[in-house]
């Protein structure tokens, strides 16, 4: 060990302490707060889905056009399908135990992979809404001038393609980082 090593390590270990003292009561309190926060987030998400579905259901009730009513019905179905895809979050206790069992390289890789997967397949979530939104938008296609319909269609397609492009770009960046684990210097992580 060189003189510089010793100096850096001494500097590291001699740094002044201060905020490391966390009592068991504080940890328990924070843990309860975490559970409460997770529960609150779940309730909020469920409530948000409930409100959106209620609004769509009300639209079905008041829409005179059959196509628009079918569109709203399909949008409700899309929300339920999306909620189903995002269901099944792991409990906080199981998650905490998993942290101790997972080597940090694997954990980091899994974090990147989860984000990459979300970004790689935006269509998996977006496509669910296409039929409902399309029918809702074009339910009155015959009442509108052709130019308006074309503009709406182009805007819709551009929006979907734009979102997909941003996600795919982000997915490529994450994949590049994951590749650095698997093929490069970070390999041999077993």
């Amino acid at each position: 060990m060189t003189e510089h090593d010793v100096e850096i390590r001494r500097l590291w270990h001699d740094q002044p302490g201060g905020d490391s003292g966390i009592s068991i009561e504080a940890v328990r309190r924070k843990s309860r707060q975490l559970e409460h926060k997770v529960r609150l987030q779940n309730v909020f998400t469920a409530a948000l889905f409930g409100v959106v579905i209620a609004v769509e259901a009300w639209q079905i009730w008041r829409q005179p056009e059959l196509l628009e009513r079918v569109g709203d019905l399909l949008t409700i179905a899309a929300f339920i399908a999306a909620a189903w895809q995002f269901r099944g979050a792991v409990g906080v206790d199981a998650m905490a135990a998993g942290l101790g069992r997972t080597a940090s390289v694997d954990f980091y890789r899994s974090q990147l992979a989860r984000r990459r997967d979300l970004d790689s397949h935006p269509w998996r979530y977006l496509v669910l809404f296409v039929p409902g939104v399309t029918l809702s938008l074009f339910g009155r296609v015959v009442d509108r001038p052709l130019a308006d319909n074309v503009a709406i269609a182009m805007l819709g397609v551009a929006l979907f393609l734009g979102v997909a492009w941003v996600h795919r770009r982000s997915a490529r960046r994450l994949q590049h980082e994951i590749d650095s684990f698997e093929g490069g210097f970070y390999g041999d992580s077993t």
């Binding site: 201060g18 905020d19 490391s20 940890v27 328990r28 924070k30 942290l99 101790g100 390289v105 980091y108």
Partner: protein, 172 residues
């Protein structure tokens, strides 16, 4: 619950200071750092019922701590500086103003700043090395091979030493 509390008390006593140093190396902002440290402690306490002794308690503690801290780093990536490889660290301007006689506080700030710029895995290896863990123990925590860890430590040490030496001689 009593066993969990007792194990937690033992772990907090033994590794509390190291966890605090770890949080400092990950987060510059004092409030965020305190929140991160609390998050690590809560995760640790919650994880302990799952500890079955298949690895050492030290490995378990450091895995939980680094995984939480890495998660924090990934979450705050948008506002954090981009991670860099050790060899590129030397090209980054020194964030701390040079003084002829830098005190320990400035030197420590500089060390933290250097560590925060590292890629998460390099950062973990560096922090575990600074905590005096041997290559085999670092390998168990990170999942890298011992040889890979040794290579990384060698490179990281070279960079840190050079940066600190430059600081002292006054030409960066």
């Amino acid at each position: 619950m009593r066993e969990q509390d007792s194990l937690y008390a033992q772990v907090a006593d033994e590794f509390g200071a190291a966890l605090e140093r770890l949080a400092r190396a990950y987060e510059r902002n004092a409030d965020e750092r305190q929140a991160l440290l609390q998050e690590i402690h809560v995760a640790l306490w919650r994880s302990l019922p799952g500890f079955k002794g298949r690895c050492s308690i030290r490995t378990w503690v450091y895995r939980v701590a680094h995984n939480i801290a890495t998660s924090h780093a990934v979450r705050s990536r948008a506002r954090a500086p981009i991670f860099v490889a050790p060899e590129n660290l030397e090209a980054i301007p020194d964030p701390v103003r040079h003084e002829p006689q830098l005190d320990r506080r400035l030197a420590l700030d500089k060390l933290h700043e250097l560590i925060r710029q590292l890629h998460p895995i390099d950062r973990q290896v560096m922090l575990l090395y600074l905590e005096d863990l041997e290559a085999a123990a670092i390998a168990e925590i990170t999942g890298l091979s011992a040889g890979n860890v040794s290579t990384k430590i060698h490179r990281l040490k070279q960079v840190l030493t050079r940066r600190f030496h430059q600081r002292k001689t006054g030409h960066d």
